[in-house]
């Protein structure tokens, strides 16, 4: 919906410097990565009865980092014009 409201930002020419479109593509990639990760690694470990604590922590940290960067990416789309 945000895309449809202001398509110009997202359709800027391919940059060699960081701009709104670059951040949009980065955010989408991170979102896809986060979703893929969630439905594979994360789900598998969450279903284990007794996962090794180190593994759980690693999986959790990666998941948090991915999703938080999606949020940051979204905000930066608007701040990099």
């Amino acid at each position: 919906m945000l895309f449809l409201a202001q398509p110009d930002i997202y359709l800027q020419p391919t940059p060699y410097l960081v701009n709104g479109r670059f951040m949009f593509l980065l955010k989408m990639s991170l979102l896809v990565a986060a979703l893929l990760y969630n439905f594979t690694v994360h789900r598998k470990v969450a279903k284990m009865d007794n996962p090794p604590p180190a593994l759980s922590k690693l999986v959790a940290i990666v998941s948090l980092l991915l999703w938080v960067s999606v949020v940051f990416g979204g905000i930066f789309i608007g701040f990099l014009q």
Partner: protein, 160 residues
């Protein structure tokens, strides 16, 4: 407007509001706290309403989330203070901002009322066979107040 102008003119805050990286990073952190802190509030409220996490006792849910809520809330409030003071003049006439502050006050009142009778009485509630009404009232009010907070926060940017 005098006070707002004086606050916003503090060099550090003035630089901050125009910064390329610092301002968006603080804003993003503030928003991420909605997910983290808000998510924990949601989890607690769902448990109080008996809608989720029923395999854990209320005491377990409330006590295990409490330190993280404090951390998340602390980060959220400090980020919020930076954001609000650096744009004090813009926010002074903004009704969404003031509604948000009033709701923050109401959340404080909610805590004063319900902490002694619900949040600090979890063991009692676990022992009773039925979830007491006061817990449900606390949970619903909490959900309504916090949702309104988040919506108002978003709308601040859209006022002219």
């Amino acid at each position: 407007m005098g006070i707002a102008h004086s606050i916003q003119s503090i060099q550090f805050l003035s630089d901050f509001s125009e910064s390329v990286l610092a301002y968006p990073i603080v804003l993003s952190t503030h928003l991420t706290c909605i997910a983290l802190f808000g998510g924990m509030i949601l989890a607690t409220d769902l448990r109080l309403l008996g809608l989720s996490l029923k395999s854990l006792t209320i005491t377990e849910v409330v006590t295990s989330l409490r330190p993280w809520k404090r951390l998340g809330g602390g980060i959220m409030i400090s980020m919020g203070l930076l954001l609000a003071t650096s744009k004090a003049e813009e926010y002074a006439p903004n009704p969404f901002f003031w509604t948000k502050m009033i709701i923050l006050g109401l959340i404080g009142v909610h805590a004063l009322i319900f902490r002694p009778i619900v949040y600090n009485k979890t063991e009692e509630m676990d022992r009773s066979p039925v979830l007491p009404t006061k817990a449900k009232v606390a949970a619903i009010l909490s959900l309504v107040l916090w949702t309104t907070m988040f919506v108002m926060g978003r709308l601040i940017a859209y006022w002219d």
